[in-house]
Amino acid sequence: MIHAERRKSMAERRPSTLNRSSSSAERMGTVVPHLAGIEDPLPDSTPEKVDVVLVGTGLVESILAAALSWQGSSVLQIDSNSYYGDSSATLTIDQLKQWVEDINKNDSKCYENAKLHISGLIGRGSYKSRDFGIDLSPKILFAKSDLLSILLKSRVHQYLEFQSLSSFHTYENDSFERLTNTKQEIFTNPSLPLMTKRNLMKFIKFVLDWSNQPEVWEAYKDKPVASFLVEKFKLERAQVYELIFSIGLCYNIDIKTPEALQRIRRYLTSFDVYGPFPVLYSKYGGPGELSQGFCRSAAVAGATYKLNETMVSYNPDSRIAVFGDASKVSVTEKVVIAPTQSPENSKNVPEQKYEVQRLTCVVDKACIEWFGEGEHAAVVVFPPNSLKSGNRQAVQALIMGAGSDVCPTGTSVWYLSSTETGIRGEMDLDAALGALEESILRESSADLENDDGILEVDNSGHMTLNSVKLGQSFQENAQREKLQVLVKLYFKQFTSTPPFEVVNPSIFDVSAMTNGKLVPGASDNGVLYTPLPSAEISYDEAITAARMLFQKIVGSDDDFFDLDFEDDEENEQINESAVIDDDDAEKMNMTLDAEMSVEPVEFAGEMEI
């Protein structure tokens, strides 16, 4: 603990709050007044003294910057790049080129083996570098999650646009199965035997409230969830795979029961919060956009921002940080550094021992075949052993269409990732890419057969073949047979966060004086290092990590986004539904009950759950 006492928050220290009645502040918690952020003219130079220096503008650092700034700490946040986002940036094609060059040249400990192919159509040809926004670590946002409630509380959501994603596909036997992800679909799916439906419903009812029923799963605490699902709920392989890999979005079959149940519940409770879909994503780019939003929020609360700036050294005795332009700042509390931007002589950077492999492609196909109605994105999961490479781990793919504004019309971005290590990982990703390619070519050539321009009905009612159109179609089809890849990026990223775990709090202890001793000559004693993004496809790790760091710095997490903004009339309707509450299970059950009555014949007398 650094501080025993809770420090005064931003709002409490702000002059405009001083003459307000204190009773409202007590009642409402921290009320941030109207003029937050524009009361004082800002100096044209960096401050001489700050509470916290943050190096890197990745998502975790940016959330932390906003939390600290609104809490009342003075913050200086820098980034060595010319853009926001660091390891979670959304990049244009030119920035991506530079990024690949940099990490290969600098022998980065955080990345390895980056390979980039860019088609001549970009830059000189049909597309501009800025038509694309490529995420280095794409993420999806569950409708019921910590991050979502923080986005609302901080008002950062007002800087962003969100779209829904309901389309989850599982790849098996060389084809895509769309996930039966609604209760309704489970009931109406003709391919599911009655017994299976019943078992599945029984499991869904259980999993919504699983943590309160340890008696059911206690014996399976350290066992893979697959055995639990098969033995306890008599589920069959197809359902087990769907639950673990598509709904739970797990990477391998060995995942332990409690972790998997938590992940399955996450999906189910997120469903129907905003509509018939479990997840959202931000338009124009994922974590890179969110980083910008949180940085702006921090700036409004008074944080200072400087891009194109590096930290050269930090002296833990004098508490002076020195930057690339020779400027200095005196740090009263902490220095927090992203491992990607640590000063050269750092000795205590946590070991990044877990591997994430990513293959990102931009292709000249819209891929709307895979999206839900009115949607612009999809998730495709390749469970273990579904690929020609004989993959041991699942490969996850996030497909983003032009409607999400990350690429031009007629193209889409395919983000593939795996936790498989070494050459096997690369082989798995290539196999998954091949499977996606085959599938989209097959599906879009199916359009050809349905092309009613080819068959025409003449005056007498006879069908005639329009040979000109048919000829054209064949020609187009021949051209279409190979997918044009506009961008192909492969790289290996390392992280200190193990797969399935959100973040290991012990990494925040490493630099804080192991054994109470300073390492002689090391510049990074007393420095906190943030975790790099893990393989996790959701944002769940980011808030947890930011909150842990916040607690390390401030001494308590009581003030972590403890905000209540005075705002305009439209915001009065805000509710806190994104916060996970205990009524969820009950509500879901009610929905289940209501839907069961829709199918009275099939379930008459059967549903004793």
């Binding site: 918690g29 937050a36 939003g293 702006r296 400087k306 806190e576 009524d583």
Partner: protein, 215 residues
């Protein structure tokens, strides 16, 4: 009020201390504006203005100081339909900077963005300070680049409302109404599909309303 309301994102640009925030504060706290209480939340300032048969709701994005070290994010420019480029009539350096911001807007922002060039601190000249940026020079720049041009004093309030009214009149109603002409990604002007946008404030789950979140 039943007149149609169109939201316009307006961004502020200009060298530090030229009075960007003061102009906006003057505008949003003015009697002339419809609601007297300005709303400046965590995200941006909003102010409604009656424009005859319709109402414009300005969503005004302050730089929040992020321009000081050339650290404005792409998010700042995205889908902005209007911009104020502000300089100080007594500081030539700030006018050079204004040229830079106009160029930046042409590169980063939507093609049909309405830009107003604003020479602020006119009151200082009236109180004896030397004018360092000639009106003609600024008018020339405005003409070349197709900008609206005003000289204002945020201190006295002189000409401030006219800036926003001028912008309101120049924003094509069509654009403001259907709001499909965002900057998109880059200059290709990709269409924003409002139908697919999810409003995070409007979850169907109302049960928790009124409770305070402790997370």
């Amino acid at each position: 009020m039943n007149s149609p309301v169109t939201s316009i994102k307006l961004v502020l640009l200009g060298e530090a201390a030229v009075g960007k925030s003061s102009i906006v504060l003057r505008f949003v706290s003015n009697d002339f504006a419809e609601n007297k209480e300005p709303t400046i939340g965590a995200a941006f300032l909003t102010q409604r203005v009656n424009m005859g048969d319709h109402t414009i709701k300005f969503e005004i994005w302050d730089t929040a100081g992020q321009e000081r070290f050339a650290s404005l994010a792409p998010m700042y420019y995205r889908n902005a339909q209007a911009a104020l480029v502000v300089y100080d009539v007594t500081k030539p350096q700030s006018f050079i900077k204004a040229r830079h911001w106009v160029k930046e807007l042409h590169e980063q922002a939507s093609k049909d963005i309405v830009i107003a060039l604003v020479g602020n601190k006119l009151d200082m000249i009236e109180s004896g300070a030397e004018r360092k940026v000639a009106r003609e020079e600024a008018e020339n720049l405005a003409q070349q680049e197709g900008l609206l041009f005003f000289e204002t004093s945020a201190k006295t309030g002189s000409n401030v409302n006219e800036v926003f009214l001028g912008i309101g009149q120049k924003i094509p109603l069509k654009t403001a109404q259907n709001q499909t002409q965002g900057a998109g990604r880059g200059s290709s002007g990709l269409r924003i599909n409002d139908d697919s946008r999810v409003d995070l404030r409007s979850s169907g789950d109302q049960s928790a309303s009124g409770s305070t979140c402790n997370c």
